[in-house]
């Protein structure tokens, strides 16, 4: 099969990572996006301000450029210059609730909705103009903010909009402008938000300044889960101390004072000595001992039922191979630690946050601050890139707790670097065991895959009991920790891209859900389980190709029917000029990685060329060639930026990153103990977009990650002859591999 079919039947809903649960109205969602659920045109677009178009979205800017993409789509469908479009930052007061901004779904959900809302708005403007000008609607054109008749009479959009709101609910798609007429879509533009950010203008939540603002920091115990043994002083280092149970913060009149007071107070507090943190939690043996449930995966869905009998691997009669691949815990590693501003006043709470899900955060905050949900407003303001569920929501909760304790003045709370590295929810460690048998012709006959994974989602969606917001667990009485739940939906969590795209006569895929019940916390990091699964699958496919005596590219193509999958592989290999680097015996290594993200979204193939310095055991990436098919290309520059950014981040994971744990918790507390890729380590990248106008535009923020990790592992093998199955390929591991060759 060429990728699992989407199932039908279930009630449509947003999953925890912002995806749509497939349901009966999925075809409507494909053409209407988030208009399903929020059908009023006025909710999405208005022309209330002369000369401007205001677009509202529930999706938030995370650095992915969504505001710019939405402005492009609105401008195209309405027929106005993109510079006239204002995309309003999301707020629980005004924006359509679109759940989480996650999973590369913003264009599919909000983009499609904005596009359709604007297409309907244009149609409605034309209808109004027809009545006003006395000209049949089909003889009018709408462009450049003006509706024109055939003989010259015209009327501006804003004159027509002054007649009042549209009061129109979208149930059917309006015709979109044909691709041949596009003036903005497919061409790209300057990001609307980047000029302010690059020039250092206040643009982030930590730059927000309000009259009377105070600044706060949290004071944490050395060992995760410790509780205060005695009350802290009321003031410390010139700051007021906020203490609720074992949640301790300082609030001062400057950020400098807050930071120094936090350090001063930390040195004086006494904490309990909780059980040691599981320092060996990333060990595959430890993970195997803490499996709490196993789910068979079929058609991309994990099912809550006993796995079927495991097929015999030798059924095909050919060679049988086995291998285990591991991925360590990773940090999101935002360059700007999490921050938030909160103001409690007159029984109301207002929060400014860079959370990915402001509506969920609002509901999760309510019980912790003792306010009804409708007394809380949450505004999104940009933060540094998060790449998933990092400390953003927790920092917002921290700020809210401090604000409620000190009402009347806004509180800007910021996590320190130590807080961010030490307390953000980590990307889940995984261990993937593969076993496959070939048939007599050298094709894959049987495929068995066991995915052991910590959970990939502890976003703060409101729970029947307990909370997922960090500070809640420290309150007195403590609000119970609501643990992450295993994700079973289509291509969710640890089984994302756990189903190979290759034709497999017999496949048996089981997801083992790991939860050790400790203070360890994991949540969504770019791609969830996909990068590890793609790393494992694409490495193992090359091992099988070698066992079959086949060329690794041809072996893949021989197992792929989907022409779009084949096309990206062929394009990437052609861009690289083949998988053999010139240079003979001392040539750099080249490797390929391919995946269709979630088996249903963007296709990406990456070829990487690398060399290993035998003296330092450092892997140097030389080149990367990428081909991607994200359906219709809305913003080629933005798409390339996302794909290349994903490639660079994944290269950093593959080569450098792993969280060190000790008995207190995360031991990697800065950029020296958790290094990431630097400028001098980034390869030359060439990217080719295979445009498919007329097909749905697909998100791509996560599509290049898995293929990149796999391509690096495969290139390393070609270069050294050593198959590395445990990430990262850092100098320590590479040294061991090279020594094994001697």
């Amino acid at each position: 099969m060429t990728g699992p079919a989407r199932p039908g039947g279930a009630v449509p809903a947003l999953t925890e990572d912002g995806r749509l649960v497939a349901g009966e109205d999925e075809p409507r969602r494909r053409v209407l996006g988030s208009l399903v659920g929020h059908p009023e045109v006025d909710r999405w677009v208005d022309l209330a301000v002369e000369g401007r178009v205001r677009v509202r979205t529930g999706k938030v800017e995370l650095g992915q450029g969504i505001r710019t993409a939405l402005a492009l789509l609105a401008a195209e469908e309405l027929g106005v210059d993109p510079a006239l479009v204002d995309v309003v930052p999301a707020s629980t007061d005004a924006a359509p609730d679109e759940g989480f901004t996650a999973g590369s779904r913003s264009v599919e959900q909000s983009g499609v909705a904005v596009r359709q809302a604007c297409a309907h708005a244009r149609r409605l403007l034309v209808e109004r103009a027809a009545a006003r000008l006395g000209v049949p609607a089909d003889r009018l054109t709408a462009d450049d903010g003006v509706v024109r008749g055939p003989d010259g009479p015209s009327v501006s959009y804003w004159e027509l909009a002054a007649e009042g709101p549209f009061h129109f609910r979208v149930t059917e798609p309006a015709p979109l402008r044909p691709a041949a007429e596009h003036r903005y879509v497919g061409r790209g533009m300057r990001r609307l938000d980047l000029a302010a950010k690059i020039s250092g203008a206040p643009a982030y939540v930590a730059d927000l300044r309000l009259p009377g603002m105070r600044f706060a920091r949290v004071v944490r115990p050395r060992r995760r889960g410790a509780r205060l043994t005695s009350a802290p002083p009321a003031t410390a280092g010139g700051a007021d101390v906020v203490c609720k149970g074992s949640f301790v913060a300082v609030v001062a009149d400057s950020e400098a004072r807050a930071a120094s007071a936090a350090a001063e107070l930390a040195a004086t507090l006494d904490w309990t000595d909780p059980p040691p943190f599981p320092a060996g939690a990333a060990d595959p043996g430890y993970m195997a001992r803490h499996v709490v449930a196993s789910y068979p995966v079929a058609d991309g869905i994990a099912r809550d039922e006993p796995p079927p009998p495991r097929p015999a691997p030798s059924a095909g009669g050919g060679a049988v191979l086995r291998a285990r691949f591991t991925k360590p815990f990773l940090l999101h590693g935002s360059i700007g630690p999490s921050a938030a501003v909160a103001l409690a006043d007159d029984g109301r709470l207002t929060v400014w946050t860079h959370s990915q899900g402001i509506g969920f955060l609002r509901r999760a905050l309510a019980p912790l601050v003792g306010l009804a949900v409708d007394r809380i407003t949450v505004h999104h303001l940009d933060g540094a890139g998060c790449y998933g569920h990092n400390g953003a929501d927790d920092a917002a909760c921290d700020a809210a707790l401090v604000a409620v304790a000190h009402p009347g003045r806004p509180v800007s709370l910021r996590w320190s670097r130590d807080d961010e590295h030490g307390h953000e929810p980590m990307g889940a460690a995984m261990a993937i065991e593969l076993e496959a048998g070939l048939d007599a012709r050298g094709r894959i006959a049987t495929w068995c895959q066991e995915i052991r994974t910590y959970r990939h989602n502890s976003r703060p969606i409101p729970q029947p009991s307990g909370t997922r917001l960090l500070a809640g667990w420290s309150l007195d009485p403590a609000v119970e920790r609501s643990r992450a739940t295993p994700m079973l939906d289509f291509e969710a969590g640890g089984h994302r891209n756990g189903t190979p795209a290759y034709r497999l006569p017999t496949s048996w895929i089981v997801k083992h859900d790991v939860d050790d019940g400790t203070a360890l916390r994991t949540s969504a990091l770019r791609g969830l389980g996909a990068p590890a699964n793609v790393f494992a699958i694409e490495s193992f496919v090359e091992e099988l190709a070698e066992a079959a005596g086949a060329d690794p590219v041809q072996f893949r193509l021989d197992h792929l029917d989907d022409p779009r999958a084949r096309a990206v592989i062929e394009a990437a290999v052609e861009m690289a000029g083949g998988l053999e680097a010139p240079g003979g015996l001392d040539a750099p290594g080249r490797g390929l990685g391919f995946a269709q993200y979630e088996g249903s979204m963007t296709y990406a193939a990456v070829v990487v060329e690398l060399e290993v310095d035998p003296r330092t055991a450092v892997v140097h990436l030389r080149h990367a060639w990428m081909a991607a098919d994200a359906g219709e290309v809305i913003d080629p520059d933005g798409l390339t930026n996302q794909l290349e950014g994903g490639l660079v981040q994944a290269a950093s994971w593959a080569l450098l990153e792993q969280v060190r744990l000790d008995e207190d918790g995360v031991a990697s507390r800065d950029w020296e103990s958790y290094p990431i890729l630097r400028f001098g380590q980034v390869p030359e990248i060439e990217t080719q977009l295979l445009d498919h106008p007329g097909t749905p535009p697909l998100g791509a923020g996560e599509a290049s990650c898995g293929p990149t990790v796999a391509a690096i592992a495969n290139a390393f093998y070609q270069h050294t002859g050593v198959r590395v199955r445990d990430l990262p390929l850092d100098p320590a591991r590479v040294r061991v591999s090279l020594d094994a060759l001697l």
Binding site: R417, G638, E672
Partner: protein
């Protein structure tokens, strides 16, 4: 009181002497272009010029810069070379979240002012900055353009 000279103006700031320059800029002078990233001189988000030399400001005590001229991106972006750097980054959409870029813009301006500089040296200066979004390829392209234009002699492509 600590006497500071920032962006050509003298300021008396009422902070302890060991206060990091970054906080004096943000808290006392309202200059928000320099960002807090790590407080450990590891990421470069807080970069400023001190007597014309790029430096992280997050651990630099204000007392150490008394008598020296501190220049932040707020001033650089009003000057021709700083403006050229910012405009080149903006024109290339050379970022995603943008948080690291004010610091990088300071370093690029510093490099442009010193050009011609060897590409290896430029790369070492950029290596003092972390970017998590993976915008490096674009930032490197812009750096190459800027330094080529500054020296009249295009730097060699990096290996």
């Amino acid at each position: 009181m600590v006497e500071l000279s920032v962006n050509g103006r003298a300021h008396s700031v009422d902070v302890p002497e060991r206060t990091p320059l970054l906080w004096a800029l943000r808290d006392e002078l309202g200059l928000l272009a320099a960002k807090y990233g790590c407080g450990l001189e590891q990421c470069g988000a807080c970069s400023v010029l001190v007597d014309g030399v790029v430096q992280p400001s997050c651990r630099l005590p204000v007392s150490d810069v008394a008598g020296l001229e501190v220049t932040t991106l707020e001033a650089l972006r009003e000057q021709p070379d700083g403006r050229r750097v910012v405009e080149a980054l903006v024109a290339a959409n050379a970022g995603q979240c943008g948080y690291c870029l004010p610091g990088i813009a300071v370093t690029l301006t510093w490099l442009v002012r010193r050009s011609p500089v060897a590409w290896e040296e430029a790369l070492r200066a950029l290596d003092d900055h972390l970017c998590r979004c993976g915008s490096h390829p674009r930032i490197l392209r812009v750096a190459r353009q800027l330094l080529a234009a500054g020296s009249g002699d295009p730097p060699a492509e990096p290996a």
